[in-house]
């Protein structure tokens, strides 16, 4: 699905990702953890194609294609979805119209017929139920005035609607209350299939109780410094990051 090799990325001449290697196979769930500022969101943004970043070296293959050559919208239409850590507000754009247009844009890219209004309504209702959102959000402007948790649910709704091949969730659990966390996790679990992969960025082991990852990686100073299975997350919960930082910093000196 996704093969990242020795990826180095800079922002304004400051290197932020310093040689990332990661292999995500179809159906796998990878969790990425790591202290604040270690580069998790940067990594997610680079995969999604944000332009502020300069790729200094390395390669990223997605379904066998050079991902770094693709535009943001091309990547999206090729099945990459990113749930934003901080979803932006788009004033005046009705959520329901927006959802309709993105669903149909993605269907068109997959060679499917556009849904008519009735089909769309049914489809959106189905997914709204899945992520436990209130239908009244459909009538509001996209993300405008949504609470932190509501924004995150709106991201999950969009993911459910677009049925991506690779979903990157950047701290989707932050800001969710306990019930919402459970509902969102269940939704993600329902969307898990043999061909769909997830990269889940989180600070909390708690989420991984609900969504069991196949791998857990620790990102520190722009590098994956430790990988393991879900027990690594438990260990981090227990011990914090200091022991890893010490290990890495000792080697670096």
């Amino acid at each position: 699905m996704l093969t990242v090799k020795d990826l180095k990325v800079a922002v304004e001449d400051k290197t932020i990702l310093n040689g990332i290697n990661l292999e995500v196979k179809p159906g796998e769930v990878h969790a990425i953890m790591g202290p604040n500022g270690s580069g998790k969101s940067t990594f997610a943004n680079v995969i999604a194609g944000r332009e502020d970043y300069e790729v200094e070296s390395g390669s990223v293959l997605y379904k066998g294609e050079d991902l770094l050559e693709m535009e943001v919208d091309e990547r999206a239409l090729a099945g990459i979805f990113m749930a934003f850590q901080y979803p932006v507000e788009i004033p005046g754009v009705s959520t329901s119209n927006f959802l309709k247009s993105i669903v149909n844009a993605n269907r068109e890219a997959r060679g499917l017929e556009a849904m008519n209004a009735m089909q769309m309504l049914k489809y959106i209702r189905e997914k709204i139920e899945l992520v436990g959102m209130d239908e009244k959000f459909l009538r509001r402007s996209l993300n405008e005035g949504f609470s932190g948790g509501e924004k995150k649910r709106s991201e999950m709704l969009q993911m459910a609607l677009l049925e991506p091949s690779l979903a990157i969730l950047d701290e989707t659990d932050s800001g969710l209350d306990i019930d919402a966390l459970r509902i969102v996790s269940e939704a993600v679990n329902k969307l898990r299939t043999q061909d769909r992969s997830f990269i889940i960025v989180t600070h909390y082991q708690r989420l991984l109780n609900y969504i069991e990852p196949d791998f857990v990686h620790v990102l520190y100073k722009g590098r994956i410094v430790k990988s393991g299975d879900k027990s690594l997350a438990l260990e981090l919960e227990d011990k914090g990051y200091d022991w890893i930082k010490e290990e890495v910093d000792a080697v670096a000196v």
Binding site: G49, E51, D73, F84, G92, S101
Partner: protein, 481 residues
Amino acid sequence: MSDSMQTLEQHTKSDYKYGFTSNIETDKLPKGLSEDVVRAISAKKNEPEWMTEWRLKAYRQFLEMTEPKWPNVDYPPVDLQDIIYYAAPKKKKKLNSLDEVDPELLDTFNKLGIPLDEQKMLAGVAVDAVIDSVSVKTTYKEKLAELGIIFCSFSEAVQEHPELIKKYIGSVVPANDNYFAALNSAVFSDGSFVYLPKGVKCPMELSTYFRINERDTGQFERTLIVAEEGSQVSYLEGCTAPMRDENQLHAAVVELVAMDDATIKYSTVQNWYPGDKEGKGGIYNFVTKRGLCKGVNSKITWTQVETGSAVTWKYPSCVLLGDNSVGEFYSVAVTNNRQQADTGTKMTHLGKNTRSTIISKGISAGHSHNSYRGLVKIGKKAENAHNFSVCDSLLMGDKCGAHTFPYLEVQNNTAKVEHEATTSKIGEDQLFYLMQRGLSEENAVNTIVNGFAKEVFNELPMEFAVEAQKLLAISLEGSVG
């Protein structure tokens, strides 16, 4: 600067799809302006003596006036002697049915998407089409006549309803109101006239399309709408012109009069040729539009979507004379490339409990300049007047400019005036977000822009709102890479 901001600035091209010229035989006066030209126009139209005199008086006043310099726009002086003041499609005899209209002309209207033929009339839009100087065809007239509604060309109204024209012409915008209004009053060639008798609610949208076709011509149309007590009307005007290298002048006057409990909704989708990327050619659009809420509880709403013209100078205004009268102004003004717009409104509160709302949305791209100029004036006797203004600017790229000039004159301390203004840039964050969901850059920009302008689009009649959205997309086409 990041790539996406750069691409936003690449206002490579914005194809003007109405830029064709039509090969229609015309009857026109030679270039130039003089009393003789004014008389000649009047004579061509077979006008009664009083009309000729009215024009001449306006012309003499015009000679004493100078071009206003206060708008925040910059253009070389207009040579009024280099303009043709009258050009009309040649006709062999009076047109009685659609079959008699020059096929080339009909073709022009088809290209403009004007629903001139019988089938499309069923869509419920009555159309008056003004090409260069004269009104060519007014559809649906008979049906409206049954209700006592008059909807005809201005010239025809001068002949058929002289008492109404005499009474109302210049009553809202006096002939000497300003330089361009005076010019218009002297040389106006045609336009539309609408009259709603007492208590009649117009059952359909009324609409006029203005088209400048001939080279070197100016267009000087006048529109007059009179709504008697308790009547209601919604009127829409659309404008286009061919692409020409030289600038062409459009100086129109619109007067609206609303009596007790009457409502007039006047919407404009202005798409005059804006000139090319370097600012060559395009229409100078210097327009005076004013509505008088004469009666109690009357209401006038101006809605405008301004995308065209090289230079725009336009302030649709309301004089709120009747107690409890309401004035509204909803505007989206888009400037791209080298376009300049100085537009806004004047709300003059004279009656008690008068209310006004101003929603102005300016969108600037390329090297363009977009200014909002608004005056809210509360007179001594306007007890409990209330104004609410919002004026938002959206910038695309950093070579364009947005300016706001709000003026406030309050002479009654019971007035309540609220003003909000924001300026924002199309955010890279927003673009990235929308594109991450699979929308193209162009589509993402349109989504953001349409969201920004939504409050104004909501005020347009449904079918025109869709058209306006498309127009906005076309105007900003090429503004992303």
